[in-house]
Symmetry: D2
Subunit: 113 residues, 4 copies
C-alpha cells in the first residue's frame, strides 16, 4: 500500500478532533470509552471474516458489496484508534516504530546463504 499523502494522519487526527468538538462529544471521549468503541468496531470487522476460509478472506474485496462493508469497518477502527491516540497524546507512528525495533530483537530474522 502506498499512501498518496492527499490526507495525512495529522489531517485525520485534526478532523476527528474538530468533529467531536463541533458536536459537544468531547465529554464522552475518555480513553476508557474510546477503547470500548475501538473494540466494538473491531468486533464488527471480525464478523465480516468469521465464516470465511483464510483463502476466501484474501479475496474478500473482489465482491463490491462486501468490499464496501470491509472498508467501512476498517475506517471505523482507524477513526477510533486515531482519536484515542489524540486524546492520550500518543504518536501512533513513533510507538509502532519503536515496537518494531523491539520485535527485531525478539524475533531475529533468519538469514541464509
Amino acid at each position: 500500500m502506498q499512501y498518496p499523502g492527499i490526507v495525512t494522519l495529522d489531517d485525520l487526527s485534526n478532523r476527528l478532533h474538530d468533529f467531536a468538538a463541533a458536536r459537544g462529544w468531547e465529554q464522552f471521549h475518555t480513553p476508557k470509552n474510546l477503547v470500548m468503541a475501538l473494540s466494538g468496531e473491531v468486533g464488527e470487522l471480525i464478523s465480516l471474516f468469521q465464516w470465511l476460509t483464510p483463502g476466501e478472506s484474501a479475496g474478500v474485496l473482489s465482491d463490491p458489496e462486501r468490499k464496501a462493508e470491509v472498508l467501512d469497518e476498517l475506517a471505523d477502527v482507524m477513526i477510533y484508534l486515531v482519536r484515542l491516540a489524540d486524546v492520550l497524546g500518543v504518536d501512533l507512528l513513533a510507538a509502532a516504530d519503536a515496537k518494531i525495533d523491539r520485535n527485531e530483537h525478539r524475533f531475529p530474522a533468519t538469514t541464509t546463504g
Copy 2:
C-alpha cells in the same frame, strides 16, 4: 497530536511488509488471521482500562509503568491494522476520511448563534 513526519504511514507499512517477508511470515498474514491478531491486541489494550473510572483513564499515562504498557498495546493495534490494510490493499486514511464525510451527513453539527 501532531505527527512530526519522521516516520510516515508509508514507512510503517513498508517496514511491516519487510519484517514479515524476512521471517517467512507472509503465509500466516491472511486477512482472516490478521483481523484475529488485531482483535487480540485490542483485548490486551482494553484489559489495561477495564477497572479504571473514566476519569482515571484520562490520566493513565501519568504512571510511567502503565504508560509503557499502554504505548506497547497501542503500537500492537496500529501494527496489525496497518499490516491488515496493506495485505488488503486498502488506504486507511482515504477510507477514514470518506467515512467522516458520511458521518457529517448522519450527524450534522448543531450550529448556534
Copy 3:
C-alpha cells in the same frame, strides 16, 4: 441470579448442536471460526455500553428497548461460548470452577476482625 432449571446448560448445548446439524453448518463451526463469532458478538455487546457512565451501565435494563438489545447480545455471546465449548469438548462449568480455585490462591481474601 437464580437459574430455575427449566432450560439446563445441557439442553442449550444439545439444542445448538442440533440447530447447526439441521442446517449443515457444522462445517463452519471450527473452533477458529467460533472464537471469531464469539468475539464479534462481544463487540456488539460492548457497543451498547461504550458511552454509558459506570453508573448508567448499572441501570441499563430499566429502559425496555435497551434491555431487549442487551439480552439479545448476551444471548449471542452465551450461544457461541457454549457452542465453542461443545465443539472442543470442554466442560465450561468445571473449567470455570477450577479457575476460581486457582484464583483463590492468587488473590487470597483479606479477613479482618
Copy 4:
C-alpha cells in the same frame, strides 16, 4: 458435551458473587467494567487461535500445554459472562433459549426427502 451437574450454573454464579464480595470488588463490578473484562478475556482466547488453520484449531486440545491455555481462557470468558449476567440479573439460559427460538424463524432448517 454433557455437563455432569457436579457444579451447576447457580453454583458458579453464587461462588463468583461471594468471591467478589469477600475481596471488596463489587464496587468495580459495574456492567460497563465487566463487559470490558469479558472482551479482554475473549481477546486472550482469540490470540491462541489466530495463527492456526481452521483444521489445526480443531485439534488444539491435543497438545497438553496449549490445552491448559485454552481451558484457562475459556474459563475466564465464562467467569466474566456469568458474573456480568448476575450483576444485571439476567438468566443466560433463558435468554439464549429465547434467542434460538427467534433464530429458528430467521433461519428455517431446510428439510429434504
